[in-house]
Subunit: 100 residues, 2 copies
């Protein structure tokens, strides 16, 4: 019996997208960051201090999340406030459900 999925370019491209999304959020520290931001937007210093992680490490993870579109950032004085881009998250969760 021929499988309906994984047999065309569109499906394969979507699988690749979902995999990328999952890879990004499967990192434990990034998941913690997400967890923090789910409650409230926060500045970088709040995040790294609360999680007990190095500042540059958190900055790096935030960049990964932001580059993928999952987070948004805005400057507020010296601080940069990060927040979750709910629309994008929903989009990927929806896609994920198609494959799981």
């Amino acid at each position: 019996m021929k499988p309906k999925c994984c047999n065309n370019k569109k499906s394969l491209a979507e699988i690749s997208q979902v995999a990328d999304f999952l890879k990004i959020i499967s990192e434990e520290n990034r998941l913690k960051i997400f967890c923090l931001l789910k409650e409230n937007e926060r500045c970088v210093c709040d995040i790294w201090q609360y999680l007990g992680l190095a500042q540059n490490l958190v900055s790096h993870h935030l960049k990964v999340l932001k580059d993928f579109g999952l987070l948004a950032a805005r400057q507020e004085g010296l601080k940069v406030i990060y927040s979750i881009n709910k629309k994008v998250v929903k989009k990927y969760l929806k896609l994920l459900n198609r494959f799981l």
Copy 2:
């Protein structure tokens, strides 16, 4: 403002669990396997031939998925038939929603 999440052992353990789950399904070939099995249970030879992957590679990925509880396997003659353990998948998807 003190965050409600990531601040107790239970939450941290759940985040760790979710991360493990996500790491496992974020692998593109494993996602393809999942995609195939979502339609129908299949034997190993069907899977590797259909996906164009090495037999031992598919066997390895199946083991990873099975060890984590996401797949079930049953012997049928020479063949081993793998299928999705829907209950377990649902459990992790539910957990995932708590953090995303």
